[in-house]
């Protein structure tokens, strides 16, 4: 009698061939892998949850934003920074090896081509990751996005060529002033909005650390522009089961929203990042 196998009916569980692992700037890597489902179906802001090895260390999967997809060549990219054991192991994987992941997971940035005239993408640090797939999606809808991108120092910038070659205008900010605007990218976006005769039709799309997203939401309110933010957080499961990845909802009664399934993208008014 032949062995039976579990009746997996999911298009979300994958083992994909790694095509390339490249260090773009010190400790920031881009991994490209073959996967036609992801290449065709991923939406900007969605993520994949990777098991970096088959051992119990690390135990959990690690979530990564989808950075770029190519449906013609059937590949997808993620961008990651080596921080701990999980990302270190990931950075040491080689082309030809198999990548165990679940995805695409989570919701996505909402693009409303009718009401939106100008899209400002605001990225802080590794928050650049989902901006390329978003930029490509906006261009497809004939919306010309602009990228505002802040890091600590010049050497941390990555994938600028990818945005420029797509025809996306890039505005840079560094905290130490080594390149572009000196200061936080939030200050750069505020001065840009301040100089506009009208902010009607502008929307902000953002990803970065919470200390950047919090003031960005305030700025968006001040200039009355819609602002979507993609959150980065610790995740246990990525599928809405462990309830480990909550963010406070912006309402009087205490309520949490879960980043993995109700996010990672939220309207800045929906959530309260102030703690």
């Amino acid at each position: 009698m032949s062995p039976i196998t579990a009746s997996l009916n999911s298009e979300l569980i994958h083992n994909s061939e790694i095509l390339e692992v490249r260090e773009l700037t010190p400790r920031i890597f881009r991994m490209r892998f073959h996967n036609s489902f992801l290449a065709r179906n991923s939406l900007p802001g969605q993520f994949i949850n990777i098991k970096v090895n088959s051992e119990y260390n690390p135990l959990w999967r690690r979530p990564f934003s989808i950075h770029q997809i190519n449906s013609g060549e059937n590949w997808a990219d993620i961008l990651f920074k080596v921080i701990g054991k999980g990302t270190d192991e990931l950075s040491r994987m080689n082309p030809g090896e198999s990548l165990d992941f679940i995805g695409p997971l989570g919701n996505s940035f909402t693009i409303k081509p009718d009401s939106m005239k100008v899209a400002y993408m605001v990225a802080g640090g590794l928050g650049i990751a989902p901006m390329l797939i978003l930029g490509h999606a906006l261009l497809k809808l004939e919306i010309h996005p602009m990228l505002f991108y802040g890091v600590r120092t010049e050497s941390e910038f990555c994938c600028l060529d990818d945005f420029e070659s797509a025809g996306i205008k890039v505005h840079l900010a560094t905290e130490d002033g080594s390149r572009g605007y000196k200061g936080f990218v939030t200050a750069l976006i505020e001065s840009t909005l301040r100089d506009m005769p009208s902010t009607t039709g502008i929307e902000l799309f953002s990803c970065g650390p919470n200390p950047m997203l919090l003031p960005l939401g305030t700025i968006a309110d001040r200039y009355n522009v819609p602002c979507q933010v993609s959150l980065e957080t610790l995740m246990g499961c990525g599928v809405g089961a462990c309830l480990g990845c909550g963010v406070k909802a912006n309402q009087n009664e205490l309520k949490y929203l879960y980043v993995c399934t109700q996010g990672p993208v939220f309207n800045s008014n929906e959530i309260n990042l102030s703690e």
Binding site: P3, I4, T5, S7, W60, R61, G236, V239, Y256
Partner: protein
């Protein structure tokens, strides 16, 4: 074919694989990954009388071969459970076991009565007297075998459905608690709930979870869980459901050999959402390749 069926009280499970409460949502969350009907049954997230938002964040932390959690029984509450979650659960062709918890003995009874009086279709209860992450009830009840027995007796009177008491390992003698619960009329005991644990970030000197301590689960606790199942198997005649770090079918077999009639897959669902279904398939294959006609032959088959 091998017969995978096992009995827990008046309940016949099509196979011994269940999903542990709090690791499988209300079932629907996992329906996009595999056919849930492949399982012996599912155990819901703990339901309480009133909705609970749960504990502050961070609620989870990864530890060597394990994880800490202090979710604090975040759930929709029994009314929303009946109206919003039951319609999906009703469509399943597998056992549905509702996990319940209360702050007081009376609350357990009120909660059960509410479910009994509703038109909800389900097969049994798992009684959570072992959550380490709530201020009232939970492990405070479970570590006192008089109270645990009292809760069991009252619930036994309130329902004909299968009653499983979920036990905490954070006690001096889990065998004593199990024996008390059996005498009070429980159909089964499930064990172990999480072990109380903690972790500290040495850079910030802050605990890695906001509530300081939490419940440890995952492969790290499997040897402890196995020993507890073995210990309890010497003390009770009712079926035992083994829980604690089961990641694959070999782990499931170990629990069964130590004395468990069925098992619950918990933390592993977070890492591989379809793992419980894979375990069912592999258990079946193991039985075939080892000429085991009925999976229940494995129960307590340890040679010691």
């Amino acid at each position: 074919m091998s017969d995978l069926k096992v009995n827990i009280g008046n309940l016949t499970l099509k196979n011994p694989v269940l999903t542990a409460s709090g690791t499988f949502g209300y079932g629907e969350e996992f329906s996009s990954f595999f056919d849930i009907n492949d399982l012996g049954g599912i155990i819901t997230k703990t339901i309480t009388l009133k909705p609970r938002v749960g504990n502050p964040f961070p609620r989870i932390a990864e530890t060597p071969s394990g994880m800490l959690n202090s979710i604090g029984l975040a759930n929709v509450g029994v009314d929303a459970f009946i109206s919003e979650k039951m319609p999906f659960l009703k469509t399943l062709n597998t056992a549905v076991i509702v996990n319940v918890a209360g702050n007081t003995v009376e609350e357990y009874v009120e909660l059960i009565s509410k479910l009994e009086d509703s038109d909800a279709e389900f097969d049994g209860y798992e009684i959570n007297v072992s959550c380490p992450n709530v201020k009232e009830g939970g492990v405070l009840f479970g570590s006192n075998y008089n109270i645990t027995a009292e809760i069991t007796r009252k619930i036994r009177k309130a329902t004909q459905r299968c009653v499983i008491i979920k036990l905490t390992p954070n006690v001096t003698s889990i065998g004593d608690v199990a024996a008390a619960v059996e005498q009070a009329g429980a159909d089964s005991v499930s064990l172990i709930n999480t072990l109380i644990g903690m972790a500290i970030d040495v850079d910030t000197r802050r605990p890695k979870i906001a509530c300081i301590t939490g419940g440890l689960s995952g492969p790290a606790i499997k040897p402890v869980a196995l020993a507890k199942v073995f210990e309890v198997s010497k003390r009770v005649n009712i079926p035992i459901i083994g829980i604690g770090g089961i990641m694959n079918y070999q782990d499931a077999l170990e629990f069964m050999m130590a004395g468990a009639t069925a098992i619950e897959v918990g933390t592993a669902n977070f890492i591989d959402p379809a793992i419980s279904s894979t375990i069912v398939a592999n258990l079946h294959n193991y039985c075939i390749s080892h000429n085991i006609r009925h999976v229940r032959e494995i129960v307590s088959s340890i040679i010691a």
